[in-house]
Amino acid sequence: MSRLHIPFKYQLLIPMVVILVGVMIFPLAYSFLLSLQDYQFTKIGQQKFIGVENYITLFSNKSYWTAMRNTIVFVIVAVALEVVLGFCLALLLHNKATFLRGFFRSTLLSPMFITPIAVGLMFRFLLNSQLGVIPIALKSIGIQVDWFGPRQALFSIALIDVWQWTPFMLLLLLAGLESLPEEPFEAARVDGAEGWKMVRYITLPLMRPIILAATVIRMLDAFKVYEYVYAITRGGPGDATETIQYNIYRVGFIYFRAGEASAMSYTLIVVITIMVIALFYVLRGEAQSR
């Protein structure tokens, strides 16, 4: 037989490569082409090539930069809170003396498994100024917060993210704590360290790469925030909660400007790639130190 022989190890990859070329590589290339055209969903078949004009107009596009800024503020606030809360909870659940450890562990993780649109709608309901139980209960003790007002809305959305994704942080950090070697802790205990000192001088330095990796993974995911915005504010009030993923959705599917949306998504790919490179090096460093 004169058939071309493909080694076994490459044969294994054929199905995945074929599928990913179809659903990912080809769309990405197509999207790059679109980003160089004046292409509108309302006028399919009438596109014209305009070079990098879509990219240039992005620089002066105010709503794009507002969305970028909102997204970055959101990611920093949400992920910082998630790291701190997740780490504290992980420390408590790592302690073998903690009461009902397994029960708390599996129930506290549940928010990360449910659909974000449901989370968004549940909190829209809970925090609604007319029929939400939280504002009404707060009002009865004299506190008034307009959760989705212009100043508060982005922060409220970040808190919703904290509710849903602190469990994920907890999961990663708890696993990290369980993988740490025993010896440094034994040695420190002999030297008389305990409590906070132990955490500060032994646990935190040992956990550094794991915390870093978990942070980057969460940041990458938080960049995609969309469902809460869709469920609650649709970018408003004004542009207070316009995030980048929502902005791309708006330009592409509300304004039908597919070319411009493609150009925006390519700038996002650059940001995401840089973050994944960072994550990759952190993970590799961890693998090497093991």
Binding site: V23, P27, M112, M122, Y230, I248, S265, L283
Partner: protein, 274 residues
Amino acid sequence: MSYVIRKRIMSVITSIILIVALLIVFFPYFWTLLASFKNEAAINHPLDFNFTPTLVSWQAVVSAGIPRQALNSLIVGLVTVGISLAAGSLAAFAFSRFNVGGNPARFLVLLAQMLPPSVLIVPLFLIVYHTKLIGSIWAAVISHLTYILPLVTWFLIGFFDDVPRELEEAARVDGCNDWQALFKIVLPAVRPGLGAAGLFAFVLSWNDMFYALLLTSGDQRTLPVGIAGYWTFRGVEMGQMSAAIILAIVPMIILSFFVQRFLLRGLGGGAIKG
């Protein structure tokens, strides 16, 4: 203060913090469940607990589009996960055993899984538009493969790393070829990994709204899209929305208890060589 007393106090504080955390996690579920049994008047008075429970919302939801949408989500999830497990397990085995493509290949798998859906939605929309799949659940399957297949592949690498090479070599001595050794010896050995990857991938497919919102329509919509439809600028059906939310999240919370144990092995460990 003696050591014992201090320890006691610490464990009481720990329990209090964990109970508060548990209340914060469960309150939204509880409130949504409660609202699904309230009529509209009772929903408008959240602090009045003296209401008569009603099944009106549940009846409305069950006789509306929700069962069909749940079925759509189920089909999309099963098909996506089936394809991803078939293609992803072979690829993960290649990465684990032969380190094909080295770290750059693993990097690409990680990057593929991290790409935001907004990056792919415009071209995917046009592709399913031109292939006449727009609006159908198959458009959702295609879009879900973009993140589920890389995720399953990434997830399984660590599980394949754990299979001792001697098992395969023994199979080969017994006269198996490469494919037979893989199917008869290696794949059965990673069954827990395949199960966990499949369940977790199913959860992620079931939970997607972004792709499904833009690519499916009419009676082909998936459950998250259906839920979003209960609270729009056109009108609000709070009780029905609450019942639909409960239907969408409870199965996933139950599934999560089976996945949790394996999640870490899949998400991080062994995926990158030093």
